[in-house]
Amino acid sequence: MPSILSVQDLRKSYAGGFEALKGISLEIEEGEIIALLGPNGAGKTTLISTICGITTPTSGTVTVAGHDIITDYRAARAMIGLVPQEINLEPFERVQNTVKFSRGLFGRPADPAVIERILRQLSLWDKKDSQIRELSGGMKRRVLIAKALAHDPRVLFLDEPTAGVDVELRKDMWQIVADLKKDGVTIILTTHYIEEAEAIADRVGVISSGKLLLVEGKAKLMARMGQKELEVQLTAPIKEIPAELRSDALRLSSDGHALIYTYDTQKERTGITKLLADVAAQGLVLRDVVTRQSSLEDIFVGLVKEDVA
């Protein structure tokens, strides 16, 4: 797959001396969904703003399908759509007009059929003549997406698309993203909701204090970093772990009904066989055995902690 967005050693320092981006390099393939995960203030929005032309980079290069964002900004920007984090809309404008305006601003000729297709796709067609201020928060977000899509961009940036959105709307948003992917749009979204990245992204990048800690396929990331938990449920509760079994990896559940063993799936020896043998040797009777994959959240928290340390 060719890369549609290429970021090379991108740095951004603000006038006050604060370095928001400390040399970010990133290749994004056409048609993929990449989630940039990071705590507040990590530099996610700065990264997006710099690529989209809202802030100017201090150094480094960014190209969109080969077009440099500075020297060939017209071609580069024409391919990008941006959905900002804040709901920035003119309250008295009408839905349809504001979407038409966006298309014109990006130099595309007026095309009512395209506007209709986009508004229908986002379930906004019924609201096309409503004033923005009459819409609910979720609808306003859809209008922002419609505006960003109005010029048929090939790369769409969604900055925290579901921040402060309820569960129902979040699921809606994920569906919209999935539909856009089907249309071949490359999507870069930022989020600090791990489950969001887990639910919709093909790849996940983790950003912390202006650095890209890693970018990896979601499944691979989880497999690489993934720790698993083995829960050994007992028929009768015990008060404490027998001395012979004690190790850092093993703990007792609060009700004493289960032993929880943490292990790394990538290691040559997981220690499961030995554990189960030892448990049996202690005369403990097993009722059930359950394993759990650690979530992206655990991985993420681990990475950011490591970076800070």
Binding site: C52, R77, N88, F92
Partner: protein, 253 residues
């Protein structure tokens, strides 16, 4: 050139104007009518002719200039400040447009609105006083140039302003005095000599003088100087805006 973008910005801004057409027009027409009643009829009847023109007619060019300058500045400054204030400016900054296209869209619309109001006031004036226009072509040219140059200035104010108070500050503290002291209601030759000299540092004097010349054929300053002043002012504003976009001052970090 991204002409589609220029057209889109222009049409979007004009739509705002037409949405509030009544309030956009009623206030200038009303205030001008009041000026004519107070200065033209009530006070003007006791004032002798100025440079061979009845006082009521004499103030017409100044009144038009007063409104056009105020309107051009407030429309343009609000036009660009509002997107900054509500955050929609992100779209402008991320669009494939350059500074000239943005300026043409916003300043063009603001200048058009001001021109519209200037023409309405001129028409209103015909109902109150007897005026003839000696140099109609020059009159239109002065009007258009004034609209454009002060819309450019308004654009700069809109980018500079950090809040709504500042947005009002420059027009109130600088522009209104300059316009009032620019000979809207009198001829510079009526001032004491010291003030005549000081007045020559007021750029608005050259505008109003030139504009009045196009109506009555008489002026406080040579017409060439008036043209030079307005050309210089326009160039200065354009240079400042070019610098703003080159450095991203107050718009792009």
């Amino acid at each position: 050139m991204n002409w589609t973008a220029v057209k889109s910005i222009y049409a979007f801004e004009m739509a705002r104007f037409f949405r509030t057409l009544a309030q956009s027009l009623i206030s200038p027409v009303l205030s001008t009518s009041l000026y004519f009643v107070v200065f033209g009829a009530a006070i003007g009847s006791r004032i002798e002719e100025v440079e061979g023109v009845s006082y009521g007619a004499f103030i017409v060019p100044g009144l038009i200039m007063l409104s056009v300058i105020t309107q051009a500045i407030s429309n343009a400054s609000f036009g660009i400040y509002f997107p900054k204030f509500i955050g929609t400016i992100f779209e402008l900054l991320s669009a494939p447009v350059n500074f000239l296209e943005i300026v043409m869209g916003y300043v063009g619309a603001a200048a058009t609105k001001a021109l519209f109001i200037g023409v309405i006031i001129l028409i209103t004036a015909f109902f109150f006083v007897d005026i003839s226009i000696v140099h109609p072509f020059a009159m239109v040219m002065f009007l258009v140039l004034t609209c454009i140059s002060f819309a450019l200035m308004g654009f700069i104010i809109g980018i500079w302003a950090g809040n709504f108070e500042q947005l009002q500050l420059v027009p109130l503290l600088i522009v209104t005095p300059l316009v009032f002291l620019g000979g809207s209601f009198y001829s510079i030759s009526m001032l004491p000599p010291v003030w005549q000299v000081i007045s020559h540092f007021n750029p608005v004097v050259y505008l109003i003088s030139g504009f009045r010349w196009s109506f009555f054929g008489t002026a406080d300053v040579p017409i060439g100087l008036s043209l030079l002043a307005i050309a210089g002012f326009t160039t200065l504003c354009l240079a400042v805006i070019w610098w703003i976009f080159r450095t991203g001052w107050r718009i792009r970090q």
